[in-house]
């Protein structure tokens, strides 16, 4: 194991390379361009391929085709660029291609801003393109996790033949932290069972396509929904901090979860029983963490860099309205630890309002 000092975006790229990524295509957009820049030289070093696509649309379809031919392939983007990839990602899903996309979230609607945001939560976890699907969504909250999640993402995608989204954000992407790099994985694209390599005359050729034409659609639907249920059942991941005796439990992922963790510590120093559930997979959402909550919890509080409290809906579904669900939404600003502790106090003294903001 090697210790490196890297920016989050670089760690994500290096983690992917060590996880076997040998194809990258992307288009520049802040705050993710370091992934593209890193891949431009790193793929050469490891004998892989890099293409700076003419657009996000081109890049996402390059990754589709590279995966179809057996390569472990990654693309990455942010904001409007991630929106442009949605059509292509839907094709990955319907063709069952284990490709990986990273979104280094920035804040805003349309072009938006280059600073961090968590306002594309819905886009990331509810589908994004057309059709019935969720991606497997991993939410790192440190440079180390950017590396680790990119490292494991291909095997996870291949386990289900379903794409993985790494939903990072501008803060994690841009910050420097030391991290431990895992060993290089061996991967042989010729051994990938789905890979197109050319079929000689007389043997059965392969077609990698979206689902609709080549097979019985009812059968396809059955297998697909079985897969989605299996992912929901087996892949829920989360971290808990001081939850068992907590009166107020924060729910936060990514950069917000680091502030919420600070708030739990500060609150506890002041005698408030605060806890944190940090979803690590955003889809499947870690419902199991909420099923285990004690009845004494007075409130669940999501902490989100958006205006509408997008994740609150999933918290309500997971907790079945057993206790009030609030959101501290800070739009384009990173929340303050003190602000979260004050909000928790207002939940405890009954002055907090459950606001319906959408």
């Amino acid at each position: 194991m090697e210790t490196m000092l890297l920016k989050g975006n670089e760690a994500l790229a290096e983690g992917a390379v060590r996880g076997g990524c040998r194809f990258y295509a992307g288009y520049p957009i802040t705050p993710q361009s370091e992934i593209l820049e890193y891949m431009s030289w790193r793929q050469n070093e490891v004998g892989g391929s890099f293409i700076q696509g003419e657009s996000e649309i081109a890049s996402v379809n390059m990754v589709f085709a590279a995966t179809a031919l057996g390569a472990r392939a990654l693309t990455s983007s942010s904001g409007p660029g991630f929106s442009l990839k949605q059509e292509g990602i839907a094709y990955w899903v319907s063709a069952g291609m284990p490709a990986v996309v990273a979104c280094v979230s920035r804040y805003g609607i349309g072009d938006g801003f280059i600073g961090p945001g968590q306002d594309n939560y819905w886009q990331a976890v509810k589908g994004g393109g057309n059709g019935d699907y969720h991606l497997l969504v991993l939410a790192p909250n440190s440079v180390q996790e950017n590396m680790d999640m990119a490292y494991e993402s291909f095997e996870l995608a291949e386990k289900y033949m379903h794409p993985v989204l790494i939903l990072s954000d501008a803060t994690i992407g841009q910050m420097l932290e030391p991290c431990t790099a895992p060993p290089m994985k061996e991967y042989d694209k010729d051994k990938a069972p789905w890979a197109l390599k050319g079929t000689p005359i007389g043997q059965k050729n392969k077609v990698i396509t979206d689902m609709t034409y080549n097979q019985d659609i009812d059968e396809w639907n059955r297998d697909y929904i079985r897969k989605m249920r299996l992912i929901m059942e087996t892949e829920q991941r989360w971290e808990e901090i001081s939850v068992p005796d907590a009166d107020v439990v924060f729910v936060a992922y990514g950069i917000s979860s680091r502030i919420a963790e600070g708030a739990v510590r500060l609150g506890r120093e002041r005698g408030l029983k605060l806890g944190l559930i940090r979803p690590i997979t955003l889809w499947p959402f870690p419902r199991k963490a909420f099923a285990r909550l004690s009845d004494s919890v007075k409130g669940l509080v999501t902490v989100e860099l958006n205006m509408m409290g997008q994740m609150r809906e999933d918290v309500i579904l997971a907790s079945h309205w057993r206790c009030p669900a609030y959101s501290v939404t800070t739009a384009q600003r990173i929340p303050e630890v003190e602000q979260l502790v004050c909000f928790a106090e207002s939940v405890l003294n009954g002055s907090a309002v459950e606001e319906e903001v959408f």
Binding site: L69, A71, G198, T199, K204
Partner: protein
């Protein structure tokens, strides 16, 4: 055309009677077989009537979204540089929704091959006007006939690409045995350019769509000869 179909052609095909796509596919199948490169080929389908070659030709195939073949083939060639990478594309796919990707592949001189089936309409969706629809041509979205004033000028790939540094650019058709023989030579030459690492090749094939043109198959062939070819001359435009 050879007397019997090459063995990679499965007998069933889903095209209408008199469809030009099936004639082209047959010629391509023959070339792949004669060059003995079926096992070395990976095709990239468009979405449109053209994509039905998948059901009649036994060759490995990727189907990206409609029009995105230029991007997909760039990646395919990077991942498997030793394979022949080609696309059977529609004119709508290659020249309208996918023009950016097609042109980017050409300007990079990617070592891949486009076979573009120009039937002057979006056939699969019911014969709407495409960039290639001819002046005066009726279509389901230009019911009084296309005019440059109302709908813009007709697209001509030769005008667009003739000054690019690409390996091969040709236009041909399938209206009779002599033209089919020429088309077969163009197909072969394009694939040879790729084999020799010369770069981007594009062969546009003027093909009939009797169904959406509202013509019988023989009338559709005559329409190509009389109305398309004078406006879109056949020939090899780039060969380096």
């Amino acid at each position: 055309m050879a007397k019997s179909a090459p063995s990679i052609m499965k007998c069933e095909n889903m095209f209408c009677a008199g469809c030009g796509h099936s004639l082209f596919d047959r010629l391509l199948g023959e070339v792949l077989t004669e060059m003995d490169i079926v096992g070395e080929s990976i095709s990239c389908s468009d979405i449109g009537c053209n994509h039905m070659y998948q059901y009649s030709m036994a060759v490995d195939t990727v189907v990206p979204p409609h029009g995105k073949m230029g991007a997909a083939m760039a990646a395919m060639k990077k991942v498997r540089p030793d394979k022949y990478i080609f696309s059977i594309a529609g004119d709508g796919g290659a020249y309208a929704i996918g023009l950016g990707e097609t042109l980017s592949a050409a300007t990079r001189n990617d070592n891949v091959t486009f076979f573009v089936m120009n039937n002057t309409v979006y056939a699969m969706t019911g014969g709407q006007m495409a960039p290639t629809t001819m002046p005066g041509q009726y279509s389901s979205s230009s019911i009084k006939g296309r005019t440059a004033e109302e709908h813009g000028r007709t697209f001509d790939v030769v005008k667009l690409m003739q000054n690019l540094e690409i390996a091969y650019l040709a236009r041909c058709t399938v209206t009779n045995a002599a033209e089919m023989a020429k088309t077969k030579r163009c197909i072969k030459k394009a694939l040879e350019k790729q084999r020799d690492g010369k770069g981007f090749s594009l062969v546009e094939v003027l093909v009939p769509c009797p169904t959406n043109w509202g013509l019988t198959p023989p009338e559709a062939m005559r329409h190509i000869e009389n109305d398309l070819v004078p406006y879109l001359p056949l020939g090899e435009y780039i060969d380096r």
